[in-house]
Assembly symmetry: C2
Homo-oligomer: 193 residues x 2
DNA sequence: CGAAAATTTGACATGACTCAACTGGAGTGG
DNA sequence: CCACTCCAGTTGAGTCATGTCAAATTTTCG
């Protein structure tokens, strides 16, 4: 197993030279993750940035009533981490759990900082990466404060059509901030129009 | 007027050497903005990153019914921009408007890219900046999908106690995603407990 | 196959919006 | 200094959006 998927991912923004690829190879580790396995649990410090080579994860919070609220999904070629906990090294309030058997590439904080220092290209690559994630999250936030659940669901289907076939409606409902029962009603209404 | 506030701002993360400060001075411009003046309007490309030296701005979207939805406020020492439009150079769907007479420092895209190229410290500074903004936005997103309007308002008061004295309830309601009438009811209920 | 989870359904409760009217300052011009 | 307007804020009635709970049904996966 190599880091080709990761190199290809970065190359979309700024190609990596051979020395940078070599360093990336030396600083990252591969792991296989089973379905329902956690790579982060509440109370633990998030020690890695995780790049999904294959598979699917959800990151979520559990509220005082024990209900899960999905903050983010991550599929192939997505990064996932609790960035706040990763940098502050404080306990996370989030879980990251595999929804499918997955292959990932991880990098820990010392190795990432070393990458940043050795090759400024990584500062830039990760800056661009998070800029894009930020813009997407802003759009979701705007939708959340301006649209009904039905509009948000329709938008979700249009934005992530591939995801629909891989996750349950329960997971979508949790991501949209509605109950599974109400999402079921929305789906029924949409199917009749 | 100098760029001291901006230098001080960056120094919280990573101090700037004299050559970097010099370059920053040469690449930025100062402006005074009147209350109700726009620095970005829907349909225009967002040409600048804006750093607020003094004053207060809101960034918002106007929906099909003509209603405003506040995505973000920016006070002293905050950055504000439509990052998506800035990088894609596509027309923005957002407005950025001064709620108070303000002083700002702006940098356009060519100058910012030049800063990035000349001094990798800026890649890093802006990466850290947006990482922090991303983490904050994630918290707001989680609140949005997991809490009632009352809980979100209480959280807003705790998170931005200073802002409460500077903006109207209408603006807060728009930020929280509720109507002014309903926020009024929430405030009444809270004041009685 | 069998247990666990997902989905649906319906009755009911609560959260939140709409609309229209009213209140009470903060300017503004005479 | 007054009359006036103009907003922000409030109030209440009615309505719609969404949640809760319980139960039945279907699907998934070990």
């Amino acid at each position: 197993m190599g880091i080709e998927p990761l190199v290809a991912h970065f190359s979309k923004y700024l190609p990596l030279e051979e020395p940078e690829q070599e360093e990336l190879r030396n600083r990252t580790i591969h792991r296989s993750i089973k379905r329902r396995q956690f790579i982060l649990q509440e109370g633990d410090v998030c020690r890695h940035y995780t790049f999904v080579v294959a598979g699917l994860f959800k990151m979520y919070m559990v509220d005082d009533n024990g209900k899960e609220h999905n903050l983010q999904f991550a599929v192939e070629n997505n990064w996932i981490a609790d960035i706040g906990s990763f940098h502050s090294e404080l306990p996370s309030e989030l879980y990251i759990e595999a929804l499918e058997p997955s292959n990932i590439i991880q990098i820990n904080k010392p190795d990432l900082l070393s990458l940043y220092t050795s090759f400024p290209a990584f500062d830039r690559n990760f800056r661009v990466l998070i800029e894009n994630a930020f813009v997407s999250l802003q759009k979701r936030m705007l939708q959340s404060i301006s649209s009904t659940a039905e509009e948000r669901y329709i938008n979700f289907m249009e934005t992530y059509p591939d995801l629909l076939n891989r996750i349950s409606s329960v997971q979508v409902a949790s991501y949209l901030g509605v109950t599974p029962e109400f999402l079921s009603a929305i789906r029924k209404k949409i199917s009749k129009s």
